[in-house]
């Protein structure tokens, strides 16, 4: 099943995908454009992975890490499908990152790789924008690059774990203004989903609605105000986002 959280008629609803449309729990049916999309989970602790695809690490001139490069994100950064992400006027290097999001379903501590999927509730798509102008070498990637307001669109759907036979074999792509700019497959992750759940749960407790953003493959391109950016993962969904200048954002 594909689930979502949407706002309609002044209230927040749980919704489901129904023949390409959005069905609320009370049965009402809407088109994708008629609802306001919210992040499909209210994220608890959110982990993100840096350099988790070998080709991407190479693209940024890094050797592949020996241990997962994990950082955390706060609730301020998330927005839903079809929303706008603000881009500072002065930024020269803002890029998208198409990522598979793994949603934890139950409390996980000291989980072994072979049991990891029992702790996964489902999957979603995230676009983990980075503004590299603000990179500094302290706790890098620092929050000013990776935890900015509106800079992590997520959704549209929360796809049940049981619906995805092999999450480690899904194609990913990013389409900017109709042109495919990034293509990859989750096969190329350095640390797989079970690796990451084992790694994290070995030193801390994971809780329901924690989310792991598993990193992005190569193919990063800069984005500019006015761009339409779609990050898409096979079987999970296509997450659409618009880049807007911070000035315009402030007045909109």
């Amino acid at each position: 099943m594909k689930r979502a959280r949407v706002a309609v008629g002044g209230a927040i609803h749980e919704a489901y995908e129904h023949e390409g449309k959005v069905r609320l729990t009370d049965g009402r049916l809407f088109s994708e454009e008629e609802v306001e999309w919210l992040p499909p989970v209210q994220p608890q602790t959110v982990f993100a992975l840096g350099l988790n695809y070998a080709d991407h690490a190479k693209e940024l001139s890094f050797s592949a890490p020996k241990e997962p490069l994990v950082f955390l994100k706060g609730p301020n950064t998330f927005i839903g499908h079809n929303a706008s992400t603000k881009r500072p006027e002065e930024a020269t290097n803002m890029h998208y990152e198409c990522e598979l999001g793994v949603i934890i379903g139950k409390t996980a501590k000291n989980v072994k790789k072979e049991d990891a999927y029992e702790y996964v509730a489902g999957y979603t798509v995230a676009n983990d924008y980075a503004i590299r102008d603000y990179l500094e070498n302290y706790y890098r990637p620092n929050l000013r690059v990776k935890n900015r307001d509106t800079c992590t669109p997520i959704g549209p759907w929360f796809v049940d774990q049981s619906d995805i036979k092999d999450p480690m074999n899904l194609s990913l792509k990013t389409i900017v203004n109709g042109q495919v700019t990034q293509e990859g497959t989750t096969k190329d992750m350095i640390f797989s989903i079970p690796d990451l759940i084992e790694y994290l749960s070995h030193f801390m407790t994971l809780n329901p609605n924690d989310v792991i953003l598993t990193g992005t493959p190569e193919g990063l391109e800069k984005v500019n105000a006015g761009d339409e950016v779609v990050t898409e993962i096979e079987g999970i969904g296509a997450l659409k986002n618009y880049i807007i200048s911070d000035k315009q954002f402030q007045n909109s």
Partner: protein, 254 residues
């Protein structure tokens, strides 16, 4: 006695209390208690953001390293990190010592508790956004490098004692000049003051909310002083902040 908010015993949300920061005594409904007679909860459940290298002494200790690899240049913006939900733990709880680690590092931090949504705040009006102040012991596994996010060193279960309570902002007019002390097994091990911050409270809130919205209940730590005391199994640690009180926890093998 000064006004504070606390969560204890069977309460399901924080209530107004009066506290004596020097004795850690509490008054509630005309009865008085010692803090350790009550069973405390964590007084917030929102996001806790830490700030690294915000004490002048801490940055000075880095010295030339700041200009060398991998840092290359001194920091410009506040260096932030997140203490996630699994780390939160109340006054008097046990801090788990992981089996593969011998010592933990104390992180005596003044915690700014947000009163309302704060975005693009000016330093001059920052105090309008503050509900109050609490004590946080930002526990870490000792690590030298601040190059990569220290999730494995800082985000272990029970690594963020918070409390015992939140003192109302108007009760602490001198928050930019508070003495911070750490006692280990009742022995004074560290003394510093929030007057030694690189970014004081107002400036820190301005520079953080420039790119990141803080929400009601979020806690922003002002930083942890240089030369943090180390803790081993069985140690009792007390972080005392002038005008707030004492936060006490014990280190217990995981």
């Amino acid at each position: 006695m000064i006004k504070a908010r606390g969560l204890f015993n069977n309460l399901y949300q924080p209530v107004e209390i009066e506290v004596d920061p020097q004795t850690n005594n509490v008054a509630y409904h005309a009865k008085s208690y010692s803090a350790n007679d009550l069973h405390w909860g964590v007084p917030t459940n929102a996001t806790v953001y830490g700030t690294a290298l915000n004490y002048k002494g801490e940055l000075e200790k880095m010295g030339d390293l700041l200009h060398n690899d991998p840092y290359k240049a001194p920091p410009k913006a506040p260096i932030l990190y997140i203490k996630p939900l699994n780390t939160f733990t109340p006054h008097q709880s046990n801090i788990p010592l992981p089996s593969d680690v011998k010592e933990l590092q104390t992180g005596a931090a003044l915690g700014i508790v947000l009163k309302k949504t704060a975005a693009h705040v000016n330093a001059s009006s920052a105090f309008e956004y503050i509900q109050g102040f609490t004590i946080v012991n930002d526990i870490s596994i000792p690590h030298e490098s601040v190059h990569r996010p220290a999730v494995k060193q800082k985000a272990r279960d029970g690594f963020c004692p918070i409390g015992p309570w939140v003192v109302e902002a108007d009760q602490l007019p001198n928050a930019d000049n508070l003495e911070v002390k750490v006692y280990v097994n009742n022995e004074l091990k560290q003394t510093n003051s929030t007057e030694n911050l690189i970014r004081n409270i107002g400036t820190l809130i301005e520079d953080v909310t420039e790119f990141m919205t803080l929400f009601k209940g979020d806690v922003l730590l002002v930083g942890t002083p240089e030369n943090p005391p180390l803790l081993k199994e069985g140690d009792q640690v007390q972080v005392e902040i002038e005008g707030i009180g004492k936060l006490e926890n014990s280190v217990v093998a995981e």
